[in-house]
């Protein structure tokens, strides 16, 4: 079940005009910000399907950038996000794509700074709810029915053990877990679906664990 909470249906409280194209888009932008962990210096945003066709009217561009600036769906500052990004020296570019995607409301965000970058694909599935389907070239296969923790880590021994032992200590049960890497010894991704919601202090602790580069939670 993709929708787990009544507040996915009655909510979110948001700035209009479109939950899919504004609130959902802001959430994709914010997921990118969460995963990157800091304000980027540049963002290349590729829009597909209905996003590409109607983003100006719906303010999808404004919303995604608002999310990247770490604004929530109801934050009044979303309306001025493009100006704010410019003032902060963030280079933002939009690309309208013709390619057909599985979901009509799809955005690909590539963003970063001189320290690093991330690339993710997000889809807005309705009512302001968003899902991340791809991260740094890793396809995410999340059931969507449980909260999930994403960890970008170095492909080294002990990385998985350090993460699972922290979760065990916190009495958080793992329902499903996947580890994937592109090349031996390089960047890898752990996707962990858990049974209960994860507090931010758990994420902080995970981030400090050995070989862990970045931590984020999604589909709460």
């Amino acid at each position: 079940m993709k929708f787990r909470s009544v507040f996915d249906i009655i909510g979110p409280v948001m700035i209009g005009p479109s939950s899919s194209h504004t609130a959902g888009a802001a959430r994709i932008g914010r997921a990118a910000r969460d995963l990157f962990g800091r304000e980027p210096k540049y963002a290349n945003i590729h829009l597909y399907g209905s996003f590409a066709k109607t983003y100006k009217g719906h303010g999808t561009d404004v919303a995604i950038v608002g999310g990247i600036l770490d604004y929530d769906t109801y934050d009044q500052r979303i309306g001025k996000s493009l100006e704010t990004a410019k003032q902060k020296g963030i280079r933002v570019r939009f690309h309208e794509e013709d390619a057909h995607t599985d979901h009509p409301n799809t955005a690909r965000i590539k963003m970063g700074d001189d320290q690093g970058s991330i690339e993710l694909v997000g889809i807005s599935i309705g009512g302001g709810k968003a899902e991340i389907t791809e991260l740094n070239g890793f396809e995410l296969r999340l059931s969507g029915s449980h909260p999930a923790i994403l960890l970008i880590h170095n492909d080294r021994y002990g990385a998985i053990a350090s993460v699972t032992s922290i979760l065990a200590k916190r009495q958080i049960n793992i329902g499903h877990m996947e580890v994937s890497r592109k090349e031996e010894g390089q960047e890898a991704l752990m996707v962990i679906e858990v049974d209960q919601n994860v507090d931010d202090d758990v994420l902080d602790e995970l981030e400090k664990a050995e070989h862990i580069v970045q931590v984020a939670k999604i589909s709460e």
């Binding site: 066709k53 009509p104 302001g128």
Partner: protein, 294 residues
């Protein structure tokens, strides 16, 4: 966790509780939160809806200038004359319009289930309220009942116009509102399901064809009609009328219709009203240029 409307009704009736209570209990379990926390969060959504209606009834205008001010016109008409379709119905219509006019002006609203369809649930609630005089608690419960019914649609079909057309947005919202009106009026959970089935049946096939891609034309007026559909269907269900096609099958039909709907009619501003000569003219005016779309 209930997976469909039949299970939701069965859960409510076997335990002798309302649909809103089933939803509250499930939310407490899933989120591991107290009754007070869950209830309080919904009450804050109710406050946002109330404020949006207030703002809309004072009069707002969208940036494009295509929408705004109709809620004021309807309320003024109601004060001067007795509306042919009745005071409650037009009150619901004006408040649904008010909400969506605020949404189009980039004001703050609560998505129910989406922003484009945010008028149906609060519009009907704040109209029916004047007739049934509910407590604040019953008003919050109205939102849980709507939410429970929308939860089923979202998980079994879609609440996205880009995926399923307007039937998935205003159709779902109107169905949710119809079921919630029934509960507030003292009907049974089964009658709520009937009201939702009757409502959605009458909005099947509704396409999403916003002019210039903006959530304004025809979205605002579709919420008006969604709200009136909900009130009428709730009355029919309370009278004992049932749907020959069960609610879950209606939702499934909506899902399948959405899947076969051409992309031009699913929130791409390429077909329907968006592609009419006037729709294109408005679009050119909004953007200051003619956007080439086929």
């Amino acid at each position: 966790m209930f997976r469909n409307v039949a299970e939701l009704v069965e859960l409510a009736e076997s335990e002798g509780i309302s649909i809103s209570e089933v939803m509250i209990r499930q939310e407490m379990e899933v989120k591991e939160k107290s009754y007070e926390d869950v209830f309080g969060e919904m009450e804050r959504n109710l406050d946002v809806m109330e404020k949006a209606i207030e703002d809309g009834l004072k009069g707002v205008e969208s940036h494009s200038g295509m929408t705004g001010g109709d809620a004021v016109l309807i309320q003024k008409y109601m004060q001067e004359k007795e509306p042919l379709s009745g005071h409650l119905l037009m009150d619901a219509v004006s408040k649904a319009v008010a909400t969506n006019e605020v949404n189009a002006s980039m004001g703050t609203i609560c998505a129910t289930p989406t922003a484009g369809s945010a008028g149906c649930v609060p519009g009907t609630l704040f109209a029916v309220k004047n007739k049934l005089n509910p407590t604040r608690e019953q008003m919050v419960r109205y939102l849980f009942t709507s939410g429970a019914l929308g939860f089923v649609v979202a998980n079994n079909a879609s609440i996205s116009g880009a995926a399923g057309g307007c039937q998935a947005e205003v159709g779902s919202a109107a169905g949710m509102a119809a079921g919630a009106i029934v509960e507030m009026a003292g009907g049974t959970p089964a009658q709520s399901a009937e009201a939702m089935a009757i409502t959605i049946k009458n909005m099947l096939g509704l396409v999403c064809d916003p002019v210039a891609g903006l959530v304004e034309v025809p979205c605002v007026k579709r919420n008006a009609m969604g709200a009136s559909n909900a009130v009428v269907a709730a009355d029919m269900a309370l009278a004992g009328v049932t749907s020959r096609i069960p609610c879950d099958e209606v939702i499934d039909a909506m899902y399948k219709i959405g899947q076969t709907m051409p992309s031009a009619l699913r929130e791409t501003a390429q077909g329907g009203l968006a592609a009419t000569p006037t729709g294109r003219e408005l679009e050119a005016k909004v953007y200051g240029i003619s956007l080439k779309k086929e």
